[in-house]
Amino acid sequence: MIDLIYFSWIRERIGKSGESIETKSSTVFELIDELRQKDTRYFEVFSDLGSFRVAINQELASFDAPLIGAKEIAFFPPMTGG
């Protein structure tokens, strides 16, 4: 089981702050593809790879990062801190 966490408009559009899933995806990119196929909301949220970022176990990761050891994967828009 992997915990998915959503922030900002991703959380709002998917309609929940997170969920636990079973996946056979081996990279972030495969996981995104899997999520896209869940339903239209997911498809729309994850349609533009340039519009969001991903963190694995609370560290920024690239889309081709492997999911081995991933317990918590977060999806969020580019940060706007400071």
Binding site: A55, F76, G81, G82
Partner: protein, 148 residues
């Protein structure tokens, strides 16, 4: 190093006083404070900041450790708030202490540039009752590139 991610209001002059009193043999102290602007044309009701508990503080510490490697600085402080913030309230602050002004200024600007685009905070503005997420601006990403 002092890092605080908090909802509570903070008095930046009291924080900088506390920070400065802990320093020894420092010649230059730089502070940056970000404040919620009460925009002129549009009327900002309030701002709301969401963050990623757990990752936020760890990420800020990594950024500060990185600044310690890049510049000869004595110490650094970062305070960043989340939750609901009214116009005029402090959002966050950075303080850096060094022997010389160049290092203190550069480290403070470096920390600011990284906090803007790499610390997991997301700002929402509520203007005339309508809310929208603040979009990341290209200039902030460009600002980062000078530190590579």
């Amino acid at each position: 190093m002092y890092v605080s991610v908090q909802n509570e209001f903070f008095d930046f002059s009291a924080e900088v006083k506390k920070f400065s009193e802990s320093l020894e043999n420092v010649g230059a102290l730089v502070t940056f404070t970000g404040i919620v602007r009460g925009q002129k044309s549009k009327t900002l009701d309030y701002m709301f900041i969401e963050h990623y508990p757990g990752m936020t503080e760890a990420q800020i510490k990594i950024i500060i450790e990185d600044s310690f490697k890049r510049w000869k600085i004595n110490d650094a402080l970062v305070i960043h708030r989340y939750g609901k913030l009214e116009p005029g309230e402090p959002i966050m602050m950075v303080a850096t202490a060094a022997q010389h002004r160049k290092e203190a200024f550069e480290a403070a600007e470096f920390l600011m540039d990284y906090l803007k685009s790499r610390a997991p905070f997301w700002k929402k503005e509520v203007v005339n009752g309508k809310e929208h997420w603040v979009e990341a601006i290209a200039a902030d990403e460009t600002a980062l590139s000078r530190w590579r």
